[in-house]
């Protein structure tokens, strides 16, 4: 696969990731650096399912580190005849609390792609995708009870292609979070403007071509246990269900259903989730067949 520049969505929410050839050494270096970062102090990014943002953020001076591992399985690509592609990816996220109601999120994914070509041959690539910087500004907060809250935030940032040719794709969004007792909702709209990109459609697994992209996500978070917090409560189990939509201005449109389980403790959390397509009108890239993911958050 060639080295090329394409539009890419904010890393946490997209189905595929902009790839660039990278040596195994580079990948291992990044993995080591991220493992080192895991030793730093994170803070809360709570009530957030895997693919939909929330209007929560670390406090000023605090840091969150979150790692998610995914396996995406894509079907045949109508543009090049590829039979299927399996993407193994690790999304590494650092979120910095800059001020009250303002944070900066840096996403730096790493991935390995296994592709079965039209000829039946297999191709494997290890890649370090582009880096995404996203500011989150919480412009509304209403805490109406011990656990009840409604919050809204603006999301804005840029996706930097640091590959062969420099490219920056700005993106802007809004997210609303509402928690009432055991029930929580997150709704997100996020638009990415393509300023560069090429017509090379290889490796485009959604939002990574030359078209602009609109993500529309909705997540429902239900606290399974405990049904009611007590003075002894230090953690909670949640069931999550997400609807993740992606519309591109080339008329491709795909909606996924993503059920999952999440645990949140005071200082750590983990999550497991699946992803299945429920609507697909895609003509410019491969469709998603399924995906599974798991993630960890460390808090101390």
């Amino acid at each position: 696969m060639s080295n090329h520049t394409r539009i890419a969505l904010p890393a946490r929410t997209r189905a595929g990731i902009t790839p660039r050839r990278a040596s195994l050494f580079t990948t291992l270096t990044c993995a080591g650096a991220l493992a080192g970062l895991a030793g730093l102090a994170p803070a809360a990014l709570a009530q957030e399912a895997m693919y939909t943002a929330s209007a929560t953020m670390p406090g000023p001076g605090n840091t969150l580190i979150r790692t998610q591992s995914h396996i995406f399985r894509f079907g045949s690509d109508p543009t090049d005849g590829t039979r299927n592609t399996t993407v193994y990816s690790v999304w590494n996220t650092v979120q910095l609390g800059l001020a009250r109601d303002l944070s900066l999120t840096i996403d730096a994914p790493v991935e390995v792609e296994n592709t079965t070509l039209a000829s039946g041959q297999h191709d494997t690539n290890t890649k370090v995708p582009d880096v995404d910087f996203t500011f989150k500004y919480r412009f509304y907060r209403s805490d109406t009870g011990g656990v009840d809250t409604t919050r809204a935030a603006l999301l804005g940032g840029v996706k930097l292609d640091t590959g062969g040719e420099f490219n920056a794709d700005p993106h802007l969004g809004v997210v609303l979070t509402q928690v009432s007792g055991r029930h929580g909702w997150n709704a997100e709209l996020h638009y990415t403007l393509t300023t560069g990109g090429t017509e090379d459609r290889l490796d485009n697994f959604g939002g990574e071509g030359t078209a602009d992209a609109l993500m529309y996500n909705l997540a429902y978070v239900y606290r399974l246990y405990p049904s009611a917090y007590t003075s002894e409560s230090t953690g909670a189990w949640y069931a999550t269900a997400e609807i993740n939509g992606l519309y591109e201005t080339n008329s491709d449109n795909e909606i996924h259903f993503s059920p999952g389980i999440m645990y949140e403790g005071r200082r750590f959390g983990f999550e497991v989730m699946g992803k299945l397509p429920i609507y697909s009108d895609v003509n410019n890239r491969a469709e998603l067949d399924w995906a599974i993911g798991m993630g960890f958050r460390l808090l101390f």
Binding site: A46, M57, R141, T144, G146, D148, L176, S227, S280
Partner: protein, 150 residues
């Protein structure tokens, strides 16, 4: 998977935007319906429904007292906090409060929506500092109780 083809790109865009609008509208509606009195708003009484019927009953004087800038007196304080929606949310409160002068320890009780703080040394934070620290953490302090005032 069966592919569904939309007639035109504009129609597909229309469908997408309609769906997105419905999703946002439904969430906004749910949020508006469940929102009660804003604990941060001035008023005769400030109340907030808490977990499973535990309620923070607060009057305007409680909220007004949180603007006091003189240091607290005593070795402990009880903070009534709204918006601690989950276990990880309270870690922000812990970290923010522990940065204040004189704070020795914090303990969050999600069941009552309260944070218990103990102090050490000569320094003490003021109610205003406590309110701002909780606000920095993304939550709302609605009442402050010190043992001597109980």
């Amino acid at each position: 998977m069966k592919r569904i083809t939309s007639p035109t790109p504009s129609l597909a865009m229309s469908k997408t935007l309609t769906l997105a609008s419905i999703m946002l509208a439904a969430t906004l509606l749910t949020a508006c319906q469940s929102s009660g009195t804003n604990a941060t708003s001035p008023g005769q009484a400030v109340s907030g429904k808490a977990e499973e019927g535990i309620t923070h009953q607060v009057v305007k004087a409680d909220v007004d007292s949180l603007t006091e800038t003189r240091p607290l007196v005593g070795s402990a304080a009880e903070l009534w906090v709204n918006g601690m929606a989950c276990p990880q949310c309270v870690s922000n409160v812990d970290l923010a409060l522990e940065d204040l002068p004189g704070v020795a320890s914090t303990r969050v009780d999600l069941g009552s929506g309260k944070v218990y703080v103990t102090f050490t040394g000569d320094k003490r934070p003021s109610p205003y500092q406590l309110r701002e620290a909780v606000r920095d953490a993304g939550n709302t302090l609605v009442k402050l109780v010190v043992p001597s005032a109980k």
